[in-house]
């Protein structure tokens, strides 16, 4: 099949001027100077100039060049359009931002230059694609907002894939140490900062293997922040979230939300609330201690079993794994609260049969948290929905197991079970629409005539 599209992006015409296609590229690239721009041409995403050199080096693909009659060659490197996700994933894992520029209209029906624009920007902290985040761990985007003079600093953490969103504050005196502790605790994939953050702090964060990107100062500003968050959450005060009196926390939260919305090109409606984690409510474990005690990572061996978390983590669901991780790096300091948790654990220690049955059921559960995120974002596939129906279908049995013990389960177990929604109408709806089909490529329109002939 002839690549009819490539003609619209001839680099230069005979006179050596930039072609209209290249002009289009340049104007889009000017808006995304810090990202690698993937430009859709025909069957490929192409990158040019410095992007091409970088992509060729990092992805080990051939660097070619394009020129038409002129002496200067433009470096060029491309990846196949249908297989781009894997390449994008690799680049993002290495810490780069990728701006994906698609054709906005059907190239066949247009004369001249096809309309193109960036449809999403993928940054290390804002990925939502399941093909890119392969691990089940929470993946946080972090934002840092310094306080007014001697005021508390605000830190925000957002996991786009599940909608988990919380803030914490650190005192101004020990800010660097405490900041690094929180970074070590949550291991964000990316951190955004306003321009006033000193270079040494940025370097210290980078040393913990976090990608740091600057973001617009006005996003962190208090009044703007309040407006942004009020709009998103439909609230007028943040007292309910516990951070009304911490302007820096609001600034960090708003900045993180806006950055996420911009890169995903979506209002992200599943991010519907915020929680405040006070560092005073838990045992402080600084970065050095987390490392020295090998709590989440072992020091010497790269083997998987040699840290505390892996010893404790025999959870059956991705959601459970993330929660356990959270609890281990944030031990509590209130005996009453801890005893409630221990009561819940003891309940299952004393009932091995129930426990095993429950774990067997949960083993068949999908990552409902992430599926919910994808539904909200609009890119949940048929496979996700099928997995969702299977998972929700297990809930009645789970409830029966827990509640059928003859005695009232401890408070936390009762609460957790109460929160399980069976959503029978939703299940019926999904089953009706998806019927017997398991077509996983409905959205990409790749169903061939051959297949439809057979059905």
């Amino acid at each position: 099949m002839k690549d009819a599209m490539a003609e619209d992006v001839i680099i230069k015409d005979i006179a050596g001027n930039l072609s209209p296609g290249m002009r289009q590229y340049m104007s889009i690239k000017a808006r995304y100077p810090d990202a690698i721009l993937f430009f859709h041409i025909g069957d490929f995403y192409e990158t040019f100039f410095a992007d091409a050199e970088l992509v060729s080096r990092e992805l080990d693909i051939v660097l070619t060049s394009r020129s038409k009659g002129s002496t200067s060659k433009i470096p060029l490197a491309g990846v196949p359009y249908h297989a781009a996700e894997g390449y994008i994933a690799k680049l993002v894992q290495k810490g780069y931002n990728v701006a994906v520029c698609d054709q906005l209209e059907n190239a066949k029906s247009v004369k001249g230059i096809v309309r193109r624009d960036v449809v999403r920007v993928i940054t290390p902290g804002t990925v939502i694609d399941p093909s890119i985040i392969l691990s089940t761990d929470a993946r946080y985007l972090m934002a840092v907002c310094p306080g007014a003079i001697n005021g508390e600093w605000g830190l925000a953490f957002l996991d786009i894939s599940t909608g988990e969103f919380f803030v914490t504050s650190i005192s101004a005196e020990n800010s660097l140490q405490d900041l690094l502790s929180e970074v070590a605790r949550y291991h964000p994939a990316e951190c955004i900062v306003p321009s006033c953050i000193p270079e040494e702090i940025i370097t210290a964060i980078k040393n913990l293997a976090v990608v740091v990107n600057p973001y617009r100062d006005d996003a962190f500003e208090e009044q703007n922040a309040r407006n942004t968050l009020a709009l998103q959450f439909h609230v007028s005060s943040f007292a309910g979230y516990g951070c009304e009196d911490i302007p820096a926390a609001l600034g960090a939260a708003a900045a993180a939300l806006r950055y996420a919305q911009e890169t995903q090109n979506s209002p992200l409606p599943h991010i519907s609330g915020l929680s405040t984690r006070s560092t005073a409510q838990c045992m402080m474990l600084d970065a050095t201690t987390l490392r020295n005690l090998e709590i989440t990572e072992s020091i010497r061996t790269l083997a998987k079993g040699a840290n505390l978390l892996s010893c404790l983590d025999c959870t059956k669901t991705a959601m459970g794994s993330r929660l356990l991780h959270n609890r281990v790096v944030r031990p509590l300091i209130d005996p009453t609260e801890i005893n409630r948790r221990l009561d819940a654990v003891e309940f299952f220690v004393r009932r091995p049969t129930v426990r095993h049955a429950l774990r067997a059921l949960m083993n068949r559960m999908a990552d409902v948290g992430r599926i919910a995120g994808r539904i909200a974002y609009g890119n949940a596939g048929p496979r996700d929905l099928v997995a969702l129906t299977v998972s929700l279908g297990l809930i009645p049995e789970i409830k029966d197991l827990v509640n059928g013990q003859g005695e009232e389960p401890p408070a936390l177990v009762r609460d957790a079970t109460f929160n399980l929604h069976e959503l029978p109408d939703t299940l019926t709806l999904i089953k009706m629409i998806l019927l017997q089909q398991q077509r996983t490529d409905v959205l990409s329109g790749k169903v061939t005539l051959q297949n439809s002939m057979n059905s």
Binding site: N292, P331, M362, L423
Partner: protein, 406 residues
């Protein structure tokens, strides 16, 4: 004759060779095959177009339906998120219960007192990797009782594992998990500090000792009565003299003058520090038991009260595979040194210090020895033989009485 389909030509009428003569003239030939010819006709093309059209419509209908479904589902997202949290919690409680049962953990007792009591505590990670059986140990630390444990002894005896186990048990307890012990009572800790030096930051260009001091500063400036402090061989990155001085000063600071202080586990290679026990009320010495036979040394990994002056450094060297020539010579030097002075630990430790330190001095500074100073001051030419003998006798006695060079 039959109608067939393939991706390249679409629909066609397949005619076998024997029937070709009967093909009407309006048939258009498309393809020749081994068995015959393939044709198409306008009606066939019409039908083909209809089918393709229908297929495209089906696809776009499917897409519409699916989009509508997804839109409806967006309303369920909050419920789904809450459900996910509920599942996560149940999963965590079950998982912790499973681990507790399989590995014999016990439910910790929690309170707000300044006390950590552990009977037969084990390191949760290490115990899984020790097929021969992990040796459990007790801990009894309290802000106004045994506040600071000084642990001396060989590096392989289990010091680091023990100290880490205590910290991990406290973390597990406070995060709501059962713990690897026969019994555990944990008073709430607000912070755990560690200075272990296992992972020094050479890449950033700071010296090992500088990093050590930075971490120590963080600890000393932020420690409270409710903290747990774990110090593993501080003072290692500088000269023996300075290191020892710093170590002792830190000990005294943590002990403080008030009646309570942060619970501390203090492993050290400075054997003199054991003397602090007699000076500070809440400091106690401990060491790890070693069984010594004529031929071998066995580390029993059991912590017991009291100090030890043996590092078994040469034994560890032998175990590591240091050439026999070196270890035998080390044994010789050790024996000589021990026989020369009454406090062998001090000189012995100096040598082991020198072997381990990066930028320490190459040899003990001869100029700082008062005995040598005296010898230097002797004017041999002006002495009678009797005077010389007296001085020699005095010097020998000073050495024998353990007159330290510093």
């Amino acid at each position: 004759m039959k109608i067939g389909y393939n991706r390249i030509f679409g629909y066609y009428i397949d005619v076998t060779r024997s029937n070709i003569s009967r093909v009407p003239s309006h048939y258009e030939r498309r393809q020749t095959t081994a068995g015959g010819e393939r044709y198409t006709i306008p009606e066939l093309k019409e039908k083909e177009a209809l089918i393709t059209n229908a297929d495209e419509r089906v696809l776009s209908l499917e897409r519409e339906l699916y989009s509508a479904l997804l839109d409806k589902l967006k309303k369920t997202v909050p419920d789904l998120q809450v459900t996910a949290k509920g599942i996560a919690a149940l999963d965590v409680y079950c998982a912790l219960a499973e681990v507790a049962q399989v590995h014999n953990y016990v439910r910790p007792v929690l309170d707000e007192k300044n006390h950590i009591l552990i009977r037969e505590g084990r390191h949760p990670v290490v115990e899984r990797n020790v097929p021969a059986g992990f040796v459990p140990n007790d801990t009894d630390l309290s802000g106004n009782g045994t506040q600071i444990m000084i642990i001396t002894g060989a590096n392989m005896a289990g010091k680091s594992t023990y100290m880490r186990a205590v910290a991990l048990i406290c973390i597990m307890a406070q995060s709501g998990s059962f713990v690897p012990a026969a019994h555990a009572r944990v008073g709430m800790l607000d912070r755990i500090f560690t200075r272990v030096g296992a992972f020094d930051d050479l890449a950033s260009g700071q010296s090992t000792f500088m990093v050590e001091m930075l971490e120590l500063a963080n600890i000393l400036n932020n420690v409270t009565d409710r903290s747990l402090v774990i110090l593993d061989e501080i003072g290692r990155g500088t000269s023996t003299v300075d290191g020892f001085a710093i170590a002792q000063a830190v000990l005294e600071f943590l002990h403080g003058r008030s009646r309570t202080g942060p619970k501390t586990l203090f492993a050290t290679h400075f054997h003199e520090l054991v003397n602090v026990e007699s000076q500070l009320k809440r400091v106690k010495n401990f060491h790890f038991a070693v069984s010594e036979t004529k031929s071998d040394v066995i580390f029993l990994r059991k912590i017991i009260p009291g100090a030890t002056d043996k590092s078994y450094g040469i034994h560890v060297a032998r175990l590591a595979g240091i050439p026999q020539k070196v270890t035998e010579r080390a044994d010789e030097i050790l024996t000589q040194t021990i026989s020369k002075t009454q406090t062998p630990s001090h000189k012995v430790q100096r040598y082991t210090q020198l072997l381990l330190a990066d930028d320490a001095h190459r040899a003990p500074d001869p100029r700082s020895d008062p005995i040598l100073d005296e010898i230097r001051a002797i004017q041999v030419d002006e002495m009678t033989p009797l005077q010389a003998l007296t001085i020699l006798h005095k010097l020998k006695r000073r050495i024998q009485n353990g007159d330290k060079p510093l």
